[in-house]
Subunit: 327 residues, 2 copies
Protein backbone atom coordinates (compact mmCIF):
# COMPACT_ATOMS: atom_id res chain seq x y z
CA UNK A 1 0.00 0.00 0.00
CA UNK A 2 1.17 3.47 -0.86
CA UNK A 3 1.21 5.45 2.39
CA UNK A 4 0.37 9.11 1.99
CA UNK A 5 2.75 11.66 3.55
CA UNK A 6 1.78 14.77 5.49
CA UNK A 7 3.76 17.62 7.02
CA UNK A 8 3.31 19.05 10.51
CA UNK A 9 4.88 22.32 11.64
CA UNK A 10 5.01 23.57 15.21
CA UNK A 11 5.46 27.33 15.22
CA UNK A 12 6.90 28.23 18.58
CA UNK A 13 8.37 31.40 20.02
CA UNK A 14 11.70 29.59 20.48
CA UNK A 15 11.81 26.89 17.78
CA UNK A 16 10.11 25.95 14.56
CA UNK A 17 9.83 22.17 14.45
CA UNK A 18 8.81 20.41 11.23
CA UNK A 19 8.01 16.78 10.63
CA UNK A 20 7.32 14.70 7.52
CA UNK A 21 5.23 11.73 8.52
CA UNK A 22 2.98 9.24 6.78
CA UNK A 23 -0.64 8.40 7.51
CA UNK A 24 0.41 5.44 9.64
CA UNK A 25 2.50 7.65 11.90
CA UNK A 26 5.98 6.71 10.64
CA UNK A 27 8.22 9.74 10.93
CA UNK A 28 10.19 10.18 7.70
CA UNK A 29 12.08 13.41 8.37
CA UNK A 30 12.50 16.09 11.03
CA UNK A 31 13.71 19.67 10.76
CA UNK A 32 14.20 22.23 13.46
CA UNK A 33 15.39 25.82 13.53
CA UNK A 34 15.55 28.65 16.06
CA UNK A 35 12.66 31.02 15.50
CA UNK A 36 14.02 34.41 14.47
CA UNK A 37 11.04 36.03 16.12
CA UNK A 38 12.76 39.39 16.65
CA UNK A 39 13.36 39.75 12.90
CA UNK A 40 9.64 40.05 12.38
CA UNK A 41 6.71 38.27 10.87
CA UNK A 42 7.94 38.00 7.25
CA UNK A 43 11.21 36.45 8.38
CA UNK A 44 9.41 33.85 10.46
CA UNK A 45 7.04 33.00 7.61
CA UNK A 46 10.04 32.51 5.30
CA UNK A 47 11.49 30.19 7.96
CA UNK A 48 8.30 28.12 7.89
CA UNK A 49 8.49 27.91 4.11
CA UNK A 50 12.19 26.98 4.34
CA UNK A 51 11.34 24.24 6.81
CA UNK A 52 8.62 22.83 4.54
CA UNK A 53 10.95 22.88 1.52
CA UNK A 54 13.70 21.12 3.48
CA UNK A 55 11.22 18.41 4.50
CA UNK A 56 9.99 18.01 0.93
CA UNK A 57 13.55 17.74 -0.34
CA UNK A 58 14.39 15.08 2.22
CA UNK A 59 11.18 13.32 1.28
CA UNK A 60 12.19 13.30 -2.40
CA UNK A 61 15.51 11.71 -1.42
CA UNK A 62 13.40 8.94 0.12
CA UNK A 63 11.41 8.64 -3.09
CA UNK A 64 8.35 10.50 -1.85
CA UNK A 65 6.95 12.85 -4.44
CA UNK A 66 5.60 16.20 -3.16
CA UNK A 67 2.46 15.66 -5.27
CA UNK A 68 1.35 12.93 -2.90
CA UNK A 69 1.40 15.22 0.14
CA UNK A 70 -1.99 15.33 1.87
CA UNK A 71 -1.36 18.77 3.26
CA UNK A 72 0.50 20.80 5.82
CA UNK A 73 -0.71 21.34 9.36
CA UNK A 74 0.57 24.28 11.37
CA UNK A 75 0.32 24.37 15.15
CA UNK A 76 0.46 27.97 16.21
CA UNK A 77 0.12 30.07 19.33
CA UNK A 78 -3.18 31.90 19.43
CA UNK A 79 -5.87 33.12 19.72
CA UNK A 80 -6.57 32.12 16.13
CA UNK A 81 -9.40 31.24 13.79
CA UNK A 82 -8.95 27.77 12.35
CA UNK A 83 -11.63 27.96 9.69
CA UNK A 84 -10.48 31.32 8.35
CA UNK A 85 -6.83 30.40 8.84
CA UNK A 86 -6.01 33.61 10.67
CA UNK A 87 -3.73 34.08 13.67
CA UNK A 88 -5.24 36.96 15.62
CA UNK A 89 -2.35 37.44 17.99
CA UNK A 90 0.73 35.47 19.07
CA UNK A 91 2.14 36.69 22.39
CA UNK A 92 5.73 35.49 21.78
CA UNK A 93 5.95 36.49 18.11
CA UNK A 94 6.36 40.26 17.76
CA UNK A 95 4.30 41.73 14.92
CA UNK A 96 1.92 38.79 14.57
CA UNK A 97 -1.47 40.50 14.53
CA UNK A 98 -4.30 39.22 12.32
CA UNK A 99 -1.98 37.21 10.07
CA UNK A 100 -3.83 35.21 7.35
CA UNK A 101 -1.17 32.49 7.60
CA UNK A 102 -3.13 29.81 5.74
CA UNK A 103 -3.63 32.03 2.69
CA UNK A 104 0.01 33.21 2.74
CA UNK A 105 1.39 29.68 2.89
CA UNK A 106 -1.10 28.36 0.36
CA UNK A 107 -0.18 31.08 -2.15
CA UNK A 108 3.50 30.40 -1.61
CA UNK A 109 3.51 26.61 -1.48
CA UNK A 110 0.45 25.68 -3.53
CA UNK A 111 -0.67 23.08 -1.01
CA UNK A 112 -3.54 22.58 1.44
CA UNK A 113 -2.75 24.22 4.75
CA UNK A 114 -4.54 23.60 8.06
CA UNK A 115 -4.21 25.65 11.21
CA UNK A 116 -4.52 24.37 14.77
CA UNK A 117 -3.84 25.88 18.18
CA UNK A 118 -0.41 24.75 19.44
CA UNK A 119 -1.54 23.14 22.70
CA UNK A 120 -4.45 21.42 20.94
CA UNK A 121 -1.93 20.10 18.41
CA UNK A 122 0.32 18.81 21.22
CA UNK A 123 -2.67 17.03 22.77
CA UNK A 124 -3.59 15.50 19.42
CA UNK A 125 0.02 14.44 18.84
CA UNK A 126 0.25 12.69 22.20
CA UNK A 127 -3.12 11.04 21.53
CA UNK A 128 -1.98 9.79 18.11
CA UNK A 129 1.54 8.56 18.80
CA UNK A 130 2.49 9.44 22.37
CA UNK A 131 1.46 8.93 25.97
CA UNK A 132 -2.24 8.96 25.09
CA UNK A 133 -2.31 6.47 22.24
CA UNK A 134 -4.25 3.90 24.26
CA UNK A 135 -7.04 6.28 25.35
CA UNK A 136 -9.68 8.39 23.62
CA UNK A 137 -10.38 11.03 26.27
CA UNK A 138 -7.55 13.07 27.67
CA UNK A 139 -6.45 16.51 28.65
CA UNK A 140 -2.95 17.88 28.21
CA UNK A 141 -1.29 20.70 30.09
CA UNK A 142 1.89 22.27 28.69
CA UNK A 143 3.95 23.47 31.63
CA UNK A 144 6.34 26.15 30.40
CA UNK A 145 6.54 29.93 30.50
CA UNK A 146 2.76 29.77 30.60
CA UNK A 147 0.33 26.88 30.91
CA UNK A 148 -1.45 25.84 27.74
CA UNK A 149 -4.13 23.22 27.42
CA UNK A 150 -5.68 20.79 25.01
CA UNK A 151 -8.75 18.58 25.37
CA UNK A 152 -9.33 15.39 23.37
CA UNK A 153 -12.85 13.99 23.53
CA UNK A 154 -13.56 10.70 21.78
CA UNK A 155 -10.38 11.12 19.78
CA UNK A 156 -11.27 14.61 18.56
CA UNK A 157 -9.88 17.98 19.59
CA UNK A 158 -12.49 19.87 21.58
CA UNK A 159 -12.55 23.41 20.19
CA UNK A 160 -15.52 24.94 21.97
CA UNK A 161 -18.02 27.20 20.30
CA UNK A 162 -15.48 29.73 18.95
CA UNK A 163 -12.18 27.77 18.78
CA UNK A 164 -11.21 29.16 22.16
CA UNK A 165 -11.71 26.24 24.53
CA UNK A 166 -9.09 24.57 26.72
CA UNK A 167 -7.47 27.64 28.23
CA UNK A 168 -6.63 25.30 31.07
CA UNK A 169 -3.97 27.56 32.57
CA UNK A 170 -6.62 30.18 33.22
CA UNK A 171 -8.84 28.50 35.71
CA UNK A 172 -8.87 30.34 39.01
CA UNK A 173 -7.52 28.20 41.83
CA UNK A 174 -7.10 30.90 44.44
CA UNK A 175 -9.61 33.70 44.72
CA UNK A 176 -7.81 37.01 45.13
CA UNK A 177 -4.43 35.34 44.52
CA UNK A 178 -1.42 36.30 42.41
CA UNK A 179 -1.98 38.34 39.30
CA UNK A 180 -1.77 36.41 36.02
CA UNK A 181 -0.60 37.55 32.59
CA UNK A 182 -4.23 37.34 31.45
CA UNK A 183 -5.27 40.05 33.89
CA UNK A 184 -7.13 37.79 36.31
CA UNK A 185 -5.96 37.00 39.82
CA UNK A 186 -5.29 33.50 41.07
CA UNK A 187 -5.06 31.56 37.78
CA UNK A 188 -3.33 28.17 37.79
CA UNK A 189 -0.75 29.65 35.38
CA UNK A 190 0.20 32.39 37.87
CA UNK A 191 1.22 29.73 40.39
CA UNK A 192 2.29 26.59 38.58
CA UNK A 193 3.95 27.71 35.33
CA UNK A 194 7.75 28.02 35.22
CA UNK A 195 7.24 31.77 35.56
CA UNK A 196 5.04 31.20 38.60
CA UNK A 197 7.62 28.92 40.22
CA UNK A 198 10.34 31.54 39.70
CA UNK A 199 8.12 34.28 41.05
CA UNK A 200 7.30 32.30 44.19
CA UNK A 201 10.97 31.35 44.64
CA UNK A 202 12.06 34.97 44.34
CA UNK A 203 9.46 36.08 46.90
CA UNK A 204 10.64 33.39 49.33
CA UNK A 205 14.29 34.40 48.84
CA UNK A 206 13.39 38.02 49.53
CA UNK A 207 11.78 36.91 52.75
CA UNK A 208 15.23 35.68 53.77
CA UNK A 209 14.86 31.90 53.78
CA UNK A 210 18.12 29.95 53.82
CA UNK A 211 18.62 28.29 50.44
CA UNK A 212 21.37 27.19 48.08
CA UNK A 213 19.47 29.01 45.35
CA UNK A 214 21.41 32.12 46.42
CA UNK A 215 24.65 30.39 45.50
CA UNK A 216 23.22 28.91 42.32
CA UNK A 217 22.23 32.34 41.01
CA UNK A 218 25.42 33.91 42.42
CA UNK A 219 23.46 36.72 44.05
CA UNK A 220 21.88 37.66 40.73
CA UNK A 221 18.20 36.97 41.42
CA UNK A 222 17.37 37.84 37.80
CA UNK A 223 19.24 34.70 36.77
CA UNK A 224 16.85 32.45 38.71
CA UNK A 225 15.08 29.83 36.58
CA UNK A 226 12.59 27.07 37.20
CA UNK A 227 15.31 24.53 36.28
CA UNK A 228 17.53 25.90 39.07
CA UNK A 229 14.70 25.51 41.58
CA UNK A 230 14.28 21.87 40.57
CA UNK A 231 18.06 21.38 40.65
CA UNK A 232 18.21 22.75 44.19
CA UNK A 233 15.34 20.46 45.15
CA UNK A 234 17.26 17.46 43.83
CA UNK A 235 20.12 18.60 46.05
CA UNK A 236 17.63 18.44 48.97
CA UNK A 237 17.48 22.20 49.53
CA UNK A 238 14.61 22.66 51.98
CA UNK A 239 13.18 25.79 50.43
CA UNK A 240 13.34 24.38 46.89
CA UNK A 241 11.67 21.15 48.03
CA UNK A 242 8.91 23.21 49.62
CA UNK A 243 8.45 25.21 46.40
CA UNK A 244 8.24 22.03 44.31
CA UNK A 245 5.76 20.45 46.76
CA UNK A 246 3.67 23.63 46.55
CA UNK A 247 3.82 23.53 42.74
CA UNK A 248 2.53 19.98 42.92
CA UNK A 249 -0.32 21.13 45.15
CA UNK A 250 -1.31 23.94 42.81
CA UNK A 251 -1.25 21.56 39.87
CA UNK A 252 -3.22 19.05 41.95
CA UNK A 253 -5.91 21.64 42.58
CA UNK A 254 -6.14 22.61 38.93
CA UNK A 255 -6.04 19.06 37.58
CA UNK A 256 -8.53 17.92 40.24
CA UNK A 257 -11.01 20.60 39.18
CA UNK A 258 -10.51 19.81 35.50
CA UNK A 259 -11.04 16.10 36.15
CA UNK A 260 -14.32 16.88 37.94
CA UNK A 261 -15.48 18.87 34.92
CA UNK A 262 -14.22 16.64 32.12
CA UNK A 263 -13.85 13.15 33.60
CA UNK A 264 -10.93 12.23 31.31
CA UNK A 265 -9.14 8.89 31.21
CA UNK A 266 -5.74 10.52 31.27
CA UNK A 267 -4.02 13.79 32.10
CA UNK A 268 -0.77 14.37 30.21
CA UNK A 269 1.74 16.92 31.45
CA UNK A 270 4.24 18.18 28.91
CA UNK A 271 6.60 21.11 28.43
CA UNK A 272 9.96 22.01 29.94
CA UNK A 273 8.93 21.55 33.56
CA UNK A 274 8.30 17.80 33.25
CA UNK A 275 12.03 17.20 33.08
CA UNK A 276 11.75 17.34 36.89
CA UNK A 277 10.21 13.86 36.69
CA UNK A 278 8.96 12.21 39.88
CA UNK A 279 10.07 15.20 41.90
CA UNK A 280 7.06 16.99 40.38
CA UNK A 281 4.78 14.07 39.46
CA UNK A 282 4.76 12.53 42.95
CA UNK A 283 3.23 15.55 44.72
CA UNK A 284 0.87 16.16 41.78
CA UNK A 285 -0.45 12.59 41.96
CA UNK A 286 -0.74 12.80 45.74
CA UNK A 287 -2.47 16.18 45.93
CA UNK A 288 -4.89 15.63 43.07
CA UNK A 289 -6.67 13.07 45.23
CA UNK A 290 -7.54 15.81 47.71
CA UNK A 291 -9.10 17.99 45.04
CA UNK A 292 -11.22 15.67 42.93
CA UNK A 293 -14.07 13.26 43.54
CA UNK A 294 -12.73 9.84 44.43
CA UNK A 295 -14.81 7.95 41.85
CA UNK A 296 -13.44 10.23 39.15
CA UNK A 297 -9.79 10.63 40.07
CA UNK A 298 -9.04 7.03 40.99
CA UNK A 299 -9.41 6.13 37.32
CA UNK A 300 -7.35 8.99 35.89
CA UNK A 301 -3.74 8.36 34.87
CA UNK A 302 -1.45 11.36 35.26
CA UNK A 303 1.55 10.87 33.00
CA UNK A 304 4.32 12.80 31.24
CA UNK A 305 4.08 13.35 27.50
CA UNK A 306 6.43 11.11 25.54
CA UNK A 307 6.90 13.11 22.36
CA UNK A 308 8.85 16.02 23.85
CA UNK A 309 8.73 19.17 21.75
CA UNK A 310 7.78 17.17 18.65
CA UNK A 311 4.25 16.63 19.98
CA UNK A 312 2.98 19.85 18.39
CA UNK A 313 4.37 19.09 14.92
CA UNK A 314 3.11 15.50 15.04
CA UNK A 315 -0.30 16.74 16.19
CA UNK A 316 -0.39 19.39 13.45
CA UNK A 317 0.13 16.57 10.94
CA UNK A 318 -2.59 14.56 12.69
CA UNK A 319 -4.93 17.55 12.32
CA UNK A 320 -4.53 17.27 8.53
CA UNK A 321 -5.42 13.56 8.66
CA UNK A 322 -8.40 14.40 10.89
CA UNK A 323 -9.62 17.02 8.41
CA UNK A 324 -9.34 14.43 5.64
CA UNK A 325 -11.09 11.85 7.86
CA UNK A 326 -8.12 9.50 7.57
CA UNK A 327 -7.61 9.39 11.35
CA UNK B 1 -48.31 12.94 11.03
CA UNK B 2 -48.61 10.71 14.04
CA UNK B 3 -46.36 12.20 16.71
CA UNK B 4 -44.78 9.66 19.04
CA UNK B 5 -45.11 10.25 22.79
CA UNK B 6 -42.40 9.82 25.39
CA UNK B 7 -42.32 10.10 29.18
CA UNK B 8 -39.72 11.94 31.25
CA UNK B 9 -39.41 11.55 35.01
CA UNK B 10 -37.30 13.72 37.27
CA UNK B 11 -36.50 11.85 40.47
CA UNK B 12 -35.65 14.47 43.07
CA UNK B 13 -35.12 14.32 46.80
CA UNK B 14 -38.11 16.68 47.22
CA UNK B 15 -40.41 16.04 44.26
CA UNK B 16 -40.98 13.49 41.54
CA UNK B 17 -41.97 15.34 38.39
CA UNK B 18 -43.34 13.46 35.39
CA UNK B 19 -44.11 14.68 31.91
CA UNK B 20 -45.79 13.14 28.88
CA UNK B 21 -44.51 14.89 25.80
CA UNK B 22 -44.36 14.17 22.09
CA UNK B 23 -41.35 14.08 19.82
CA UNK B 24 -41.99 17.67 18.74
CA UNK B 25 -41.83 18.90 22.33
CA UNK B 26 -45.54 19.47 22.94
CA UNK B 27 -46.26 18.76 26.58
CA UNK B 28 -49.39 16.58 26.87
CA UNK B 29 -49.56 15.95 30.61
CA UNK B 30 -47.72 16.73 33.84
CA UNK B 31 -47.75 14.97 37.19
CA UNK B 32 -45.97 15.86 40.36
CA UNK B 33 -45.81 14.35 43.83
CA UNK B 34 -43.77 14.89 47.00
CA UNK B 35 -41.02 12.29 47.19
CA UNK B 36 -41.62 10.07 50.21
CA UNK B 37 -37.87 9.58 50.51
CA UNK B 38 -37.97 8.73 54.21
CA UNK B 39 -40.27 5.77 53.53
CA UNK B 40 -37.47 4.05 51.69
CA UNK B 41 -36.43 2.93 48.26
CA UNK B 42 -39.36 0.62 47.44
CA UNK B 43 -41.87 3.33 48.29
CA UNK B 44 -40.14 5.82 46.02
CA UNK B 45 -39.98 3.30 43.17
CA UNK B 46 -43.71 2.66 43.55
CA UNK B 47 -44.21 6.45 43.37
CA UNK B 48 -42.31 6.54 40.07
CA UNK B 49 -44.49 3.73 38.72
CA UNK B 50 -47.60 5.52 39.96
CA UNK B 51 -46.49 8.69 38.21
CA UNK B 52 -45.92 6.83 34.93
CA UNK B 53 -49.32 5.13 35.15
CA UNK B 54 -51.05 8.46 35.85
CA UNK B 55 -49.37 9.97 32.79
CA UNK B 56 -50.33 6.98 30.62
CA UNK B 57 -53.94 7.23 31.82
CA UNK B 58 -54.08 10.92 31.03
CA UNK B 59 -52.53 10.14 27.65
CA UNK B 60 -55.26 7.57 26.93
CA UNK B 61 -57.89 10.21 27.71
CA UNK B 62 -56.23 12.27 24.96
CA UNK B 63 -56.40 9.28 22.60
CA UNK B 64 -52.74 8.33 22.93
CA UNK B 65 -52.24 4.61 23.17
CA UNK B 66 -49.50 3.40 25.56
CA UNK B 67 -48.22 1.08 22.80
CA UNK B 68 -46.94 4.09 20.88
CA UNK B 69 -44.73 5.27 23.73
CA UNK B 70 -41.08 5.52 22.66
CA UNK B 71 -39.81 4.97 26.16
CA UNK B 72 -39.37 6.45 29.58
CA UNK B 73 -36.42 8.58 30.59
CA UNK B 74 -35.51 8.98 34.24
CA UNK B 75 -33.33 11.82 35.47
CA UNK B 76 -31.79 10.76 38.74
CA UNK B 77 -29.28 11.98 41.25
CA UNK B 78 -26.03 10.08 41.04
CA UNK B 79 -23.37 8.81 40.71
CA UNK B 80 -24.95 6.33 38.34
CA UNK B 81 -24.16 4.11 35.39
CA UNK B 82 -26.31 4.98 32.41
CA UNK B 83 -25.48 1.97 30.29
CA UNK B 84 -26.07 -0.56 33.06
CA UNK B 85 -29.02 1.45 34.39
CA UNK B 86 -27.76 1.40 37.96
CA UNK B 87 -27.90 4.21 40.52
CA UNK B 88 -24.82 3.73 42.68
CA UNK B 89 -25.77 6.21 45.35
CA UNK B 90 -28.27 9.07 45.75
CA UNK B 91 -27.31 11.45 48.57
CA UNK B 92 -30.86 12.70 49.26
CA UNK B 93 -32.63 9.34 48.90
CA UNK B 94 -32.00 7.15 51.97
CA UNK B 95 -31.36 3.51 51.11
CA UNK B 96 -30.52 4.10 47.46
CA UNK B 97 -27.33 2.12 47.02
CA UNK B 98 -26.58 0.20 43.81
CA UNK B 99 -30.21 0.23 42.67
CA UNK B 100 -30.74 -1.38 39.22
CA UNK B 101 -33.56 1.07 38.53
CA UNK B 102 -33.75 0.46 34.78
CA UNK B 103 -34.25 -3.28 35.24
CA UNK B 104 -36.79 -2.78 38.05
CA UNK B 105 -38.89 -0.33 36.03
CA UNK B 106 -38.61 -2.39 32.86
CA UNK B 107 -39.82 -5.54 34.63
CA UNK B 108 -42.69 -3.63 36.19
CA UNK B 109 -43.78 -1.48 33.25
CA UNK B 110 -42.67 -3.53 30.25
CA UNK B 111 -41.28 -0.50 28.47
CA UNK B 112 -37.86 0.81 27.42
CA UNK B 113 -36.27 2.79 30.24
CA UNK B 114 -33.33 5.19 29.96
CA UNK B 115 -31.34 6.66 32.81
CA UNK B 116 -29.65 10.05 32.85
CA UNK B 117 -27.96 12.13 35.54
CA UNK B 118 -30.41 14.77 36.84
CA UNK B 119 -28.30 17.84 36.10
CA UNK B 120 -27.41 16.50 32.64
CA UNK B 121 -31.13 15.99 32.04
CA UNK B 122 -31.87 19.57 33.13
CA UNK B 123 -29.21 20.84 30.72
CA UNK B 124 -30.66 18.75 27.90
CA UNK B 125 -34.18 19.95 28.73
CA UNK B 126 -33.16 23.61 28.62
CA UNK B 127 -31.31 22.94 25.36
CA UNK B 128 -34.37 21.27 23.79
CA UNK B 129 -37.20 23.54 24.88
CA UNK B 130 -35.86 26.16 27.27
CA UNK B 131 -33.33 28.96 27.56
CA UNK B 132 -30.81 27.12 25.39
CA UNK B 133 -32.97 26.21 22.42
CA UNK B 134 -31.16 28.59 20.08
CA UNK B 135 -27.64 27.32 20.88
CA UNK B 136 -25.77 24.02 20.60
CA UNK B 137 -23.05 24.48 23.22
CA UNK B 138 -23.99 25.35 26.76
CA UNK B 139 -23.32 24.61 30.38
CA UNK B 140 -25.94 24.58 33.09
CA UNK B 141 -25.46 25.03 36.81
CA UNK B 142 -28.26 24.07 39.19
CA UNK B 143 -28.04 26.34 42.21
CA UNK B 144 -29.77 24.66 45.11
CA UNK B 145 -28.75 22.77 48.24
CA UNK B 146 -25.72 21.78 46.20
CA UNK B 147 -24.48 22.86 42.78
CA UNK B 148 -24.99 20.37 39.98
CA UNK B 149 -23.80 20.72 36.43
CA UNK B 150 -24.51 19.66 32.88
CA UNK B 151 -22.53 20.22 29.70
CA UNK B 152 -24.06 20.18 26.21
CA UNK B 153 -21.58 19.99 23.34
CA UNK B 154 -22.92 20.16 19.80
CA UNK B 155 -26.37 19.32 21.07
CA UNK B 156 -25.23 16.22 22.96
CA UNK B 157 -24.81 15.65 26.69
CA UNK B 158 -21.11 15.41 27.51
CA UNK B 159 -20.71 12.39 29.78
CA UNK B 160 -16.93 12.06 30.08
CA UNK B 161 -15.11 8.77 29.99
CA UNK B 162 -17.08 7.14 32.83
CA UNK B 163 -20.41 9.04 32.94
CA UNK B 164 -19.02 11.25 35.67
CA UNK B 165 -18.28 14.53 33.93
CA UNK B 166 -19.76 17.94 34.70
CA UNK B 167 -19.35 17.97 38.46
CA UNK B 168 -19.29 21.73 38.02
CA UNK B 169 -19.96 22.48 41.67
CA UNK B 170 -16.72 20.79 42.59
CA UNK B 171 -14.15 22.99 40.98
CA UNK B 172 -11.88 24.58 43.54
CA UNK B 173 -12.15 28.36 43.50
CA UNK B 174 -10.34 29.08 46.74
CA UNK B 175 -7.33 27.04 47.76
CA UNK B 176 -7.57 26.11 51.43
CA UNK B 177 -11.08 27.56 51.65
CA UNK B 178 -14.31 26.31 53.22
CA UNK B 179 -14.86 22.58 53.48
CA UNK B 180 -17.29 21.11 50.95
CA UNK B 181 -19.65 18.14 51.28
CA UNK B 182 -17.38 16.26 48.87
CA UNK B 183 -14.47 16.40 51.29
CA UNK B 184 -12.42 18.97 49.38
CA UNK B 185 -11.78 22.51 50.55
CA UNK B 186 -12.73 25.58 48.57
CA UNK B 187 -15.21 24.11 46.04
CA UNK B 188 -17.60 26.45 44.26
CA UNK B 189 -20.47 24.56 45.93
CA UNK B 190 -19.12 25.30 49.42
CA UNK B 191 -19.45 29.04 48.70
CA UNK B 192 -22.19 29.61 46.18
CA UNK B 193 -24.86 26.97 46.80
CA UNK B 194 -27.86 27.87 48.96
CA UNK B 195 -26.15 25.96 51.76
CA UNK B 196 -22.99 27.98 51.23
CA UNK B 197 -24.92 31.27 51.30
CA UNK B 198 -26.57 30.28 54.58
CA UNK B 199 -23.26 29.20 56.06
CA UNK B 200 -21.59 32.49 55.14
CA UNK B 201 -24.59 34.45 56.44
CA UNK B 202 -24.52 32.61 59.74
CA UNK B 203 -20.78 33.23 60.15
CA UNK B 204 -21.28 36.96 59.47
CA UNK B 205 -24.17 37.14 61.95
CA UNK B 206 -22.00 35.46 64.59
CA UNK B 207 -19.38 38.10 63.97
CA UNK B 208 -21.99 40.59 65.11
CA UNK B 209 -22.83 42.53 61.95
CA UNK B 210 -26.00 44.59 62.10
CA UNK B 211 -28.66 42.98 59.92
CA UNK B 212 -32.42 42.56 59.68
CA UNK B 213 -31.74 38.84 59.20
CA UNK B 214 -31.81 38.60 62.99
CA UNK B 215 -35.42 39.80 62.98
CA UNK B 216 -36.34 37.65 60.00
CA UNK B 217 -35.20 34.48 61.75
CA UNK B 218 -36.57 35.70 65.11
CA UNK B 219 -33.31 34.89 66.86
CA UNK B 220 -33.45 31.28 65.67
CA UNK B 221 -30.34 31.09 63.48
CA UNK B 222 -31.28 27.52 62.50
CA UNK B 223 -34.24 28.98 60.65
CA UNK B 224 -32.03 30.99 58.32
CA UNK B 225 -32.50 30.18 54.62
CA UNK B 226 -31.00 31.40 51.38
CA UNK B 227 -34.41 32.86 50.47
CA UNK B 228 -34.36 34.98 53.62
CA UNK B 229 -30.92 36.32 52.72
CA UNK B 230 -32.19 37.36 49.29
CA UNK B 231 -35.34 38.82 50.87
CA UNK B 232 -33.22 40.90 53.24
CA UNK B 233 -31.11 42.03 50.28
CA UNK B 234 -34.24 43.18 48.45
CA UNK B 235 -35.06 45.18 51.57
CA UNK B 236 -31.60 46.80 51.18
CA UNK B 237 -30.07 45.19 54.24
CA UNK B 238 -26.35 46.01 53.97
CA UNK B 239 -25.06 42.67 55.16
CA UNK B 240 -27.44 40.69 52.94
CA UNK B 241 -26.49 42.82 49.93
CA UNK B 242 -22.84 42.13 50.68
CA UNK B 243 -23.52 38.38 50.91
CA UNK B 244 -25.38 38.39 47.59
CA UNK B 245 -22.62 40.40 45.91
CA UNK B 246 -20.09 37.91 47.27
CA UNK B 247 -22.19 35.01 45.97
CA UNK B 248 -22.13 36.66 42.57
CA UNK B 249 -18.37 36.95 42.78
CA UNK B 250 -17.91 33.28 43.68
CA UNK B 251 -20.20 32.27 40.83
CA UNK B 252 -18.31 34.66 38.55
CA UNK B 253 -15.03 32.96 39.42
CA UNK B 254 -16.45 29.48 38.82
CA UNK B 255 -18.28 30.38 35.62
CA UNK B 256 -15.26 32.33 34.36
CA UNK B 257 -13.00 29.31 34.82
CA UNK B 258 -15.54 26.99 33.21
CA UNK B 259 -15.90 29.33 30.24
CA UNK B 260 -12.11 29.34 29.78
CA UNK B 261 -12.13 25.54 29.71
CA UNK B 262 -15.26 24.91 27.65
CA UNK B 263 -15.86 28.07 25.60
CA UNK B 264 -19.65 27.64 25.60
CA UNK B 265 -22.14 29.90 23.85
CA UNK B 266 -24.35 30.10 26.91
CA UNK B 267 -24.33 29.52 30.64
CA UNK B 268 -27.72 28.70 32.14
CA UNK B 269 -28.32 29.05 35.86
CA UNK B 270 -31.26 27.14 37.27
CA UNK B 271 -32.52 25.90 40.63
CA UNK B 272 -34.15 27.61 43.56
CA UNK B 273 -31.62 30.41 43.91
CA UNK B 274 -32.39 31.98 40.53
CA UNK B 275 -35.66 33.29 41.92
CA UNK B 276 -33.43 36.11 43.18
CA UNK B 277 -33.36 37.37 39.58
CA UNK B 278 -31.21 40.40 38.73
CA UNK B 279 -30.15 40.71 42.35
CA UNK B 280 -27.99 37.65 41.69
CA UNK B 281 -27.51 37.81 37.91
CA UNK B 282 -26.18 41.37 37.88
CA UNK B 283 -23.13 40.67 40.07
CA UNK B 284 -22.55 37.33 38.33
CA UNK B 285 -22.48 38.99 34.89
CA UNK B 286 -20.24 41.76 36.22
CA UNK B 287 -17.74 39.57 38.04
CA UNK B 288 -17.43 36.88 35.40
CA UNK B 289 -15.66 39.43 33.19
CA UNK B 290 -12.86 39.63 35.75
CA UNK B 291 -12.32 35.89 35.76
CA UNK B 292 -12.41 34.84 32.13
CA UNK B 293 -10.54 35.77 28.97
CA UNK B 294 -12.20 38.72 27.27
CA UNK B 295 -12.40 37.07 23.83
CA UNK B 296 -14.21 34.13 25.41
CA UNK B 297 -16.54 35.74 27.91
CA UNK B 298 -17.75 38.63 25.78
CA UNK B 299 -19.62 36.12 23.63
CA UNK B 300 -21.16 34.07 26.44
CA UNK B 301 -24.76 34.70 27.45
CA UNK B 302 -25.49 34.08 31.14
CA UNK B 303 -29.21 33.48 31.53
CA UNK B 304 -31.75 31.90 33.87
CA UNK B 305 -33.30 28.59 32.91
CA UNK B 306 -36.89 28.97 31.69
CA UNK B 307 -38.29 25.52 32.44
CA UNK B 308 -38.19 25.71 36.23
CA UNK B 309 -38.23 22.34 37.91
CA UNK B 310 -39.68 20.70 34.81
CA UNK B 311 -36.32 20.96 33.03
CA UNK B 312 -35.15 17.60 34.37
CA UNK B 313 -38.28 15.69 33.31
CA UNK B 314 -38.28 17.34 29.88
CA UNK B 315 -34.59 16.53 29.49
CA UNK B 316 -35.14 12.93 30.59
CA UNK B 317 -37.71 12.63 27.80
CA UNK B 318 -35.23 14.25 25.41
CA UNK B 319 -32.64 11.65 26.43
CA UNK B 320 -35.00 8.95 25.14
CA UNK B 321 -35.34 10.76 21.80
CA UNK B 322 -31.55 11.16 21.67
CA UNK B 323 -31.06 7.43 22.27
CA UNK B 324 -33.50 6.73 19.43
CA UNK B 325 -31.72 9.31 17.25
CA UNK B 326 -34.97 11.26 16.84
CA UNK B 327 -33.48 14.45 18.30
Amino acid sequence: MDLKPVIGIDLGGTNIVGILINERGNILAKKRRKTLAQEGKDKVISQIIGCVNDLLKEGENLGISPEKLLGIGVGSPGPLNRKQGIIYHAPNLPGWENVPLVKILKDELGMSIFLENDANAAALGEWWLGAGKSVNNLILLTLGTGIGGGIIIEGQVYHGSKDMAAELGHIVIKEGGMICGCGTRGCLEAYASATGVVRRARAAMKQGYKTILKDLVRNNPEGLTCELVFQAARERDSLALWLVEETGRYLGIGIGSLANVLNPEMVILSGGMIKAGDLLFNPVRRFVKLFSLKAIIERVKIVPGTLGDEAGAIGAAAAVLKERRML
